[in-house]
């Protein structure tokens, strides 16, 4: 937020002054991610992941545009053109591994970013819109990654496309026509591959646009912080630049070490070997699984094996899978506690770390395992707990929990109650 004590942009060089009059882009940057943007002084490394996610989007767009220069979206040659990228195109293997693992890295980062929200109550007022836009970005990412995975036209690509578009056939009456409309045929084929390529190219730019809205909405209240206590005085903040450019830069370095280590030393570790077999509409791989980042949701989809009153099992699974994400849209209103950060919420903290987190990991493990016992039963229990967490535990905990005492201010939390250590004289808190 532009607190009253924010530093002002004063271009000194004549060119920058000229620029400031014609197109104040440098001023915009200065106020958005420069010295003109005061940020809570106590942000920890959980707050690095937004910038990292933005960086991942850039990696995906750069490597993706390059791949698209060599890739051919035609069912007859798509697989071969991917192998052409791997074997013949200069550095093509690197671009493709960077893109495929970039998608995984993107999801690691975004899941961490979302989990930060759960931990520190980032979704709470006045930041609901930031959270809602974040969920939209996540849905768009899932669509993008799904369609990207179809492009190499291997066995997993083909059967993934078939199973996921098959989800829509669960909708009563219009389901099957809808699936055929989505595919442009009765099964995934050229029409489907082409439109997936077109949309896979488009959606990242839509994501970039929503990211801009997300950050715009963020800059109205500013970031929250590990205490969840809002900024009160200047001593609670530091300018974004150089403090957080440096901290984010360090985090980016660590991220790049891990990411490039995977790209260069284990590029196929997260992939599935069956996708190096060309698509074959007549034979389903014995064990089809989506990419790891979809596993928890896939487990919820498969958890429904029995009909529920008049709703067939298939539709139940599909509804549950989508609800698992849609429930996030209601989070700001399901959590009614006046305290934001789980640091001061002893009960919620335990339910997030020892309830929700292991539950999602268990769901993920089941989603990547064959559809057999004991995994089906475990997914059923874990899926039930997942919804229980959001719809029952969270509202109840919010109302019965006795929060621990909050610090008066961010400064007090950082420096203790030592008056001499406080940089600015304490001002009365704004109501």
């Amino acid at each position: 937020m532009s607190f009253p004590w924010a530093q002002h942009y004063e271009p000194r060089h004549p060119f920058m002054q000229w620029m400031d009059e014609k197109l104040p882009l440098p001023r915009f940057v200065y106020n958005a991610v420069g010295a003109g943007y005061p940020v809570p002084r106590n942000l920890n490394y959980w707050w690095n992941f937004g910038v990292l996610a933005g960086f991942c989007l850039v990696i995906q767009i750069v490597t993706g545009v390059i791949l698209a220069m060599h890739y051919a979206a035609n069912a007859g040659v798509a697989f071969d053109s991917t192998e052409h990228i791997m074997r013949d195109v200069n550095w093509g293997w690197m671009m493709r591994y960077a893109h495929a693992n970039g998608a995984s890295a993107f999801f690691v980062v975004v899941y961490t970013h979302i989990f930060r929200g759960f931990l520190f109550g980032s979704y709470k007022a006045p930041r609901e819109m930031i959270w809602l836009l974040g969920v939209v970005i996540f849905l768009l990412m899932m669509a993008t990654a799904f369609m990207g995975y179809v492009l190499p036209w291997g066995q997993m690509s083909f059967w993934g496309a078939k199973v996921i578009t098959g989800l829509f056939s669960a909708i009563p009456l219009i389901g099957t026509p809808l699936q055929q409309w989505l595919l442009g045929g009765f099964a995934p084929d050229n029409a489907a591959l082409n439109r997936f390529f077109s949309l896979h190219f488009l959606l990242p730019f839509v994501i970039a646009a929503v990211v801009i809205l997300h950050i715009w909405a963020l800059h109205i209240p500013g970031s929250t912080n590990p205490t969840g206590v809002e900024v009160k005085t200047e001593s609670d903040t530091v300018p974004f630049h150089p403090y957080y450019t440096a901290k984010d830069g360090f985090g980016l370095g660590v991220f790049l070490i891990l990411y490039t280590a995977v790209v260069f030393f284990a590029p196929n570790a997260l992939g599935h070997p069956d996708n190096y077999i060309p698509a074959n509409p007549l034979s389903t791989p014995a064990h089809i699984v989506p990419e790891w980042y979809f596993w928890p949701f896939y487990a919820i989809l498969r958890a429904f094996t029995w009909d529920f009153f008049f709703i067939p099992a298939k539709l139940m699974g599909v509804l549950a899978m989508f609800s698992a994400i849609l429930v996030w849209f209601f989070l700001p209103w399901l959590d009614t506690s006046p305290v934001r950060s789980s640091r001061y919420r002893p009960l919620l903290r335990k339910f997030v770390w020892f309830g929700l987190l292991p539950d999602v990991i268990i769901l993920g493990y089941c989603g990547g395992s064959p559809a057999a016992e004991p995994f089906v039963m475990i997914s059923q229990i874990a899926a039930a707990y997942y919804f229980l967490h959001f719809l029952v535990i969270l509202p109840i905990v919010s109302s019965i929990e006795k929060p621990e005492p909050l610090p008066f201010s961010i400064t007090e939390d950082v420096l203790g109650k030592d008056d001499h250590a406080v940089l600015a004289p304490a001002q009365p808190a704004a109501a």
Binding site: K162, Q180, D189, A191, L282, R302, K314, L315, A371
Partner: protein, 188 residues
């Protein structure tokens, strides 16, 4: 009077003012709206299966080589079709089932042609999410009901290809087909 500018029917005569500009506004927005909606249709319809995809030819399949108990996979509309020659035991098993207990109640007779109850001809597309179930190929597992087993999410079909267990809502679909002769089936 300045107040009456642009009003066809002055306020003091009817009690309400209908201005020419209101009419123009409503007319313009309506035309633009109808035009916009009409444009939407081609934008949506272009996604549907195109003429060449729809112009699916029918397929003729020789079934003379399929021994009792065996099955083959054929392709129709780029999707697999299972043609299976049921053994008398498999037919008996299918007929023994209490129809009322089925998720998608159908008898074997309803799913085959009269006099040719041993020929079980179905799509090889799981009605759950569209995988190809196992059981038509040589040595593939047929699941606990002896029909087909879908490895994707564990749907299990019986010897009439009816859904018996797992998430699939329907029996394997029976395509439109006819017997050209005792040994040739025409699908589609």
């Amino acid at each position: 009077m300045a107040d009456d500018a642009g009003i066809d029917t002055p306020v003091h005569e009817t009690g309400e003012g209908v201005r020419r500009r209101d009419f123009i506004n409503v007319a313009a927005v309506s035309f633009a709206g109808v035009g916009g909606l009409a444009t939407l249709w081609p934008l949506i319809r272009q996604m549907s299966p195109s003429a060449d995809v729809l112009a699916e030819s029918s397929t003729e399949i020789d079934i003379s080589q399929i021994a009792a108990g065996q099955a083959i996979k054929a392709i129709w509309r780029k999707q697999p079709v299972f043609l299976r020659n049921l053994t008398p035991a498999e037919i008996a098993l299918a007929n023994k089932v209490d129809i009322g207990s089925l998720r998608d109640p159908q008898t074997l007779a309803e799913r085959t042609k009269p006099g040719k109850e041993n020929w079980l001809i179905t799509m090889g597309v799981c009605t759950h999410l569209g995988c190809v179930p196992l059981g038509a190929g040589e040595g593939e597992p047929r699941g606990e009901f002896g029909g087909y087993f879908c490895p994707c999410h564990g749907s299990t079909y019986d010897t009439a290809a009816r859904i018996r267990k797992g998430p699939a809502p329907k029996n394997l679909e029976v395509p439109v087909y006819e017997f050209n002769s005792d040994t040739v089936v025409k699908i589609g």
